[in-house]
């Protein structure tokens, strides 16, 4: 009987914030485009048509075509799938590493805490771009490089968040009472601390997703990320930038718009989720 009330309440809080509803809609559209879009677009993103290069947006090609005559809309739609795949993998890897190390650091304290947190400091000292460039030099550019580079630069934030939350949760009496009934260290970390720190991690994941979309585009733009011919938003912009001066604006405009709207939607959704999980931050 309490359950339906609880969900109704969450629903209400979420709906009461118009911006987070817009954010959620954008994210849903983004995911839909990523998953089913490639099956319904009329052209393959890699088919070239030399009779129709650099065509401005028409009804046949809504977003226009690029210098090889490829349909820009298909490429942007495929780009969503690329961003989602990279985003989810990076989120997964960085959360797993960050949560495990963060909980161990926060719960054990002492030497473990010092070692892990100094490692975090070490990784935070390098901007993601630098890490990506170093890895790209070693293994060459590509999706793999991008995923490794972003995971390396993103796990640190998660580790700090998880550690901070663990520090505050381990003070609670139910942790002591679990110890008092014989709960082992591992049991307490896995069954009592982890479920309690998931909400803030979830919120930070939505926000990081936005950052990953941006970084993916940024790194691909400068050439250390996704390599052609994979249709990636940053890459499309990078290819199209030389045509701005000659007036072919659509080559940078549409992928740029896609990046902007997606990142905004993810950020709005993240704020909305935070309102639900953290009533203290809620705007009245």
């Amino acid at each position: 009987m309490m359950k339906s009330n609880k969900y109704k309440y969450i629903y209400k809080v979420f709906l009461s914030n118009k911006l987070s509803v817009i954010g959620a809609l954008i994210v849903i559209i983004f995911l839909l485009v990523g998953f089913v879009g490639p099956f319904i677009v009329p052209y393959s993103p890699e088919t070239m048509d030399y009779s129709n290069v650099l065509s401005a947006p028409t009804f046949k090609h809504l977003f226009g075509t690029d210098e090889f005559g490829r349909d820009l809309m298909s490429r942007v739609v495929y780009g969503a799938r690329v961003s989602i795949t990279i985003g989810l993998i990076v989120i997964l890897i960085s959360r797993i590493i960050g949560i495990i190390l963060g909980i161990i650091a926060g719960y054990s304290g002492g030497v473990f805490d010092d070692i892990i947190m100094r490692f975090v400091d070490l990784f935070m000292a390098f901007p993601p771009v630098v890490i990506a460039m170093v890895i790209a030099t070693i293994m060459g550019g590509g999706v793999k490089t991008l995923i490794i580079a972003l995971s390396i630069s993103m796990w640190t934030g998660v580790a700090r968040l998880a550690r901070g939350e663990t520090l505050s949760i381990k003070q609670n009496e139910y942790i002591l009472s679990t110890k008092a009934v014989g709960g082992s260290k591992f049991h307490i970390m896995w069954h009592h601390i982890l479920p309690n720190i998931l909400p803030p991690i979830l919120i930070s994941s939505t926000l990081s997703f936005g950052r990953i979309v941006l970084s993916t585009a940024g790194l691909s733009f400068i050439g250390v990320g996704v390599q052609p011919p994979i249709p990636e938003w940053g890459l499309i912009i990078s290819n199209g930038r030389e045509y701005i001066v000659s007036g072919e604006w659509w080559l940078v405009f549409f992928p740029g718009l896609a990046i902007m709207i997606t990142v905004m939607g993810l950020n709005l959704l993240g704020d909305g989720l935070r309102d639900i999980f953290d009533p203290k931050e809620r705007k009245l």
Binding site: N172, S177, T178, G182, H192, P195
Partner: protein, 322 residues
């Protein structure tokens, strides 16, 4: 009578930047089989730390610097973490002050109870669920089925404490330590919980260490009482003897200060002075600065030790040394 737990010359320090805070000094208590030992004392005298040290759960920077804790002839201080985990909850259980914070807010009562039951037995999940229902019935929770489906915040304080108690007794521990289990509850619920703990103690024949700052509660449940002051035990004896004819000046002052013994219009009686810092211990008796019966001997040398004054009665005071 068979001794279940013996604490022998226990010393415990909290190492702070200011110095060593000597929170427990030469504690000697023992608990007999199926007996209720009450521990009373004012805030900060070391009652809870004593309870935690029995289970090996003293928080950092606390450190046990001397003494032994024997439970069934085994010294708990020499056991490994693994061995202690097996004793905690199975042989010795602890009930905390605030029931609401002793339950994890993200799980239903059912999951938390089954977790404890499964940890110390090799029951199947189905049997564990049955056992959880039986335990809730034992602690007289009305509608146990619906309580199992509740999250902790959906329970009242008294109900949550019953759940906590039922978890603590799930493996029929030989010793139950209750650290002010009624402090967070209102007076009517307090009465119920105390009656419940008495019944459980009778039914399961467990020993009970009942910690409280309230003499009235101790009177209702304890058979023997240990009075603590600033990390020392100053007097131990049968509950009635101590409450009716206290010997140590601190016990006397404590009993005098109980509000219900004072008539309307009369001024409440406190104990003059404050508890001394436990970092730089004064010489002699720790209670000397607040004691009405201080004599020359109290101000110097080593503190008084517990001396047997009559049957089952021990007092740490120079006034009563033969």
């Amino acid at each position: 009578m068979e001794k279940l737990l013996t604490v022998n010359n226990l010393n415990l320090n909290f190492n702070t930047f200011k110095g060593k805070n000597k929170v427990l000094r030469n504690i000697n208590i023992d608990v007999n089989k199926s007996e209720v030992l009450g521990i009373v004392g004012e805030t900060g005298c070391g009652k809870s730390v004593l309870a935690l040290s029995i289970l090996g759960l003293v928080p950092k920077p606390g450190e046990i610097t001397g003494g032994q804790i024997y439970f069934r002839q085994k010294n708990l201080l020499e056991l490994s973490d693994k061995e202690l985990e097996n004793i905690r909850g199975k042989n010795i259980s602890l009930i905390f002050q605030s029931p609401m914070s002793a339950l994890n807010p993200v799980f239903k009562v059912k999951k938390q109870m089954m977790e404890v039951i499964l940890a110390h037995s090799n029951k199947s999940k189905k049997e564990a669920l049955k056992e959880a229902l039986r335990l809730l019935n034992l602690v007289r929770v009305p509608e146990p089925e619906s309580v199992l489906e509740c999250y902790p915040h959906e329970l009242s304080g008294g109900m949550a404490q019953r759940v906590v108690i039922s978890m603590a007794i799930s493996s029929q521990p030989a010793l139950l330590i209750a650290d002010e289990p009624t402090t967070a509850l209102d007076v009517t619920i307090e009465k119920q919980i105390i009656r419940l703990m008495k019944n459980i103690k009778e039914e399961l024949e467990t020993s009970l260490i009942f910690i409280s700052h309230d003499l009235e509660i101790i009177k209702q449940i304890a058979e023997r009482v240990a009075v603590m002051y600033a990390g020392n035990i100053v007097e131990i004896g049968d509950c009635n003897d101590i409450l009716n004819s206290p010997i140590h000046p601190y016990t006397k002052a404590l009993i005098k200060a109980v509000p219900s013994r004072i008539k309307r219009g009369q001024e409440l009686q406190g104990i003059e002075g404050i508890v001394p810092e436990l970092i730089d211990l004064p010489e002699g008796c720790i209670f000397e600065s607040r004691c009405e019966k201080s004599i020359a001997k109290c101000k110097e040398g080593s503190p008084p030790k517990l001396k047997n004054v009559s049957e089952n009665r021990y007092v740490a005071c120079f006034n009563f040394e033969g």
